[in-house]
């Protein structure tokens, strides 16, 4: 890592190594297929929330429609592999490319909108998509869903084994994370954050704001599509309700709970939200003997509490103690001084 990078963005190697280490170690500890399923879904959803984090947290553009892009991926994979018997890999790639272009074209008019208007438009897209998959039942199976989607296989080894699928999903998630980190830790990241703060000023500086917004929108949609394909091949079944606006809202909650201002927050938020339900259920069942409706109430309550007391997201709680030991500002200042003295300026 260059010195300049350290000045501007601080360290990145350590958290990545930590994550990779965790991914490698977990299978040694975890044996239950149930936890594995959750871990796999966390990996899948993390890919969506990473993209959303770029869009919401960095570029400041809200989307209440990412479940649609998630769905386009899932259904492209599902339909192409069942009705047309294409290889899942080709289907997955076609899905990503199609979604990217669809999102790009939709994005051009839609991203002219701001704030709540954008929220409404993306919500509309989600609803239109939902109705379309219900309506095109010849292809999609309609409300009954699409059964018999094949699982992925790699070099002839089917990834039906959870462990394989787990590594596959998390490899993809880490790659997406790296891409996102690269973007964020570059001039583009600064441009996105500038757009968030003041579009007017950003444009004045010569940035074609619309292009950036649309590009990030399409990129995050492509991430969602990738995740959707993985979802389809993992669950081997898709049905419309999975891709309704409630899912878009869930993605949004994941990003916000984790902390939208950091890509790490996306992964953390996804993890926490995915486990939250299970923990409430576990605790509720084992110790209080409560039933489903009470779990929902507790879940709602916890979301409220997290947002009330940790508006910057959970990532802030984690990074704060680290910041205390090694404030980013001090690191930057020091690196800056080092560099200046080396240059002899």
């Amino acid at each position: 890592m260059s010195k300049l990078e350290k000045i501007l963005y601080g360290n990145r190697l350590k958290p990545i190594l930590f994550l990779v280490g965790l991914i490698l170690i977990l299978p040694l500890v975890v044996k239950s297929p149930y936890i594995f399923t959750i871990l796999i879904l966390i990996g899948i959803y993390s890919i969506v929330s990473l993209g959303l984090c770029l869009l919401i947290g960095y570029a400041g553009q809200i989307s209440l429609g990412h479940a649609a892009f998630f769905g386009i991926g899932a259904y492209t994979s599902g339909v192409l592999t069942t009705s047309f018997e294409l290889s899942p890999w080709i289907a997955l790639t076609i899905g990503m490319i199609t979604t990217f272009f669809i999102a790009y074209i939709i994005g051009i008019p839609i991203l002219k909108l701001k704030g709540h208007f954008l929220a409404l438009a993306t919500l509309g897209i989600n609803i239109i998509f939902y109705i379309l998959i219900l309506g095109l039942n010849q292809l999609t199976g309609g409300a009954a869903g699409l059964i018999g989607i094949p699982s992925l296989s790699l070099f002839g080894v089917p990834l039906t084994d959870k462990l394989f699928f787990y590594f596959f999903v998390w490899t993809a998630a880490v790659l997406v994370l790296l891409l996102s980190l690269n973007i964020v830790r570059s001039h583009v990241g600064r441009v996105l954050r500038s757009i968030h703060d003041s579009e007017i000023a950003t444009e004045t500086l010569g940035v074609k704001v619309e292009n950036y917004k649309v590009a990030i929108f399409a990129l995050s949609a492509a991430f969602a599509s990738l995740a959707g394909s993985m979802y389809a091949h993992y669950i081997t079944f898709v049905a419309p309700p999975t891709f309704y606006i409630t899912k878009s809202i869930l993605f949004l909650i994941m990003v916000m709970v984790g902390g939208a201002s950091s890509v790490w927050g996306a992964i953390l938020g996804t993890t926490v939200i995915m486990f939250l339900n299970e923990i409430i259920r576990f605790v509720g069942h084992t110790y209080f003997g409560i039933s489903g409706e009470v779990e929902i109430v507790v879940y709602g309550l916890i979301i409220i509490l997290i947002m009330m007391f940790l508006p910057k997201g959970l990532i802030h709680v984690i990074s704060k103690p680290i910041q205390k030991i090694k404030p980013k500002k001090k690191v930057s200042v020091k690196a800056h001084k080092d560099m200046i003295s080396q240059k002899g300026v």
Partner: protein
């Protein structure tokens, strides 16, 4: 002196009100031109039309001989025009350094694709932006605050930050809307020095200001607006003597 900016018959009406009415003037290369006038005279509106934030009801603007009117805002920076705002537009959540680095955008080739794959170009660009930004920060003396969040600076410092951001890439024409408002005399003089220094390096300025001492000291030429109309144009000395200007704007007590 060759013409850098030509303003031809610019007019802007809001509903029934004519905020700017048939204004024409030129800015030559390497010149500093000031626009003054009472509050509400239409100075900012004029600025907004030149910099394509508002489309004029009538008239057009040429820059280096090319028509500017109707261009998209980002295009201006690429042509070599930068501006600041009367109501500050800084990036609150970026650090001072990052704010100023953003000013170097037109010099960079980073895009989403090469950033995502971290091609070597990226690191080179970071370097370029950083070096340019450091120069600008040095110029306005914000080194100490380089790593502070811009939103936490006081008003006057934000003002200087916005100035630094506007000059990073050494644009040909720098448009400043009341650059000295909120600065004390000492800082005003410093700012005037920066402007002179940049002028000597070849930049031109078009600026609006109410601090007459500075205007008179800096400007090569002054344009005076009142109720949207140009009521005078001339050198500082001419303007100071102009009865119309005194009555409309300066009041009995000059400076």
């Amino acid at each position: 002196m060759s013409k850098l900016l030509e303003v031809r018959g610019l007019t802007k009406r809001f509903g029934g009100v004519t905020a700017v009415s048939d204004i024409s003037y030129d800015v030559g290369a390497g010149e500093i031109v000031a626009v003054i006038g009472p509050n509400g005279a239409g100075k900012t509106t004029l600025f907004n039309m030149i910099s394509c934030f508002l489309s004029p009801t009538n008239g057009e603007v040429y820059f280096k001989g090319n028509k500017l009117t109707g261009q998209k805002i980002p295009q201006l920076a690429h042509l070599g025009i930068s501006r600041t705002f009367q109501n500050l537009q800084i990036f609150h959540n970026l650090t001072v350094l990052e704010n100023v680095m953003m000013g170097a955008h037109v010099k960079l080739k980073t895009n989403v694709v090469n950033a995502a794959f971290r091609l070597p170009r990226i690191l080179k660009d970071e370097r370029i932006a950083y070096d340019l930004a450091l120069d600008a920060i040095h110029l306005v003396g914000l080194e100490e605050l380089m790593f502070e969040q811009a939103g936490q600076l006081s008003y006057g410092l934000q003002k200087q930050l916005e100035f630094a951001r506007a000059i990073v890439y050494k644009p040909d024409l720098i448009m400043l809307d009341e650059p000295m408002a909120g600065l004390n005399d000492y800082e005003t003089n410093r700012m005037a020095d920066y402007i002179k220094k940049l002028k000597s390096e070849g930049s031109s300025f078009l600026f609006v200001e109410h601090k007459m001492a500075t205007v008179m000291e800096l400007a090569d030429r002054i344009i005076v607006l009142d109720f949207g109309k140009k009521i005078a144009e001339g050198t500082p000395d001419e303007i100071q003597q102009n009865a119309k200007v005194i009555a409309a704007y300066l009041g009995e007590e000059v400076v």
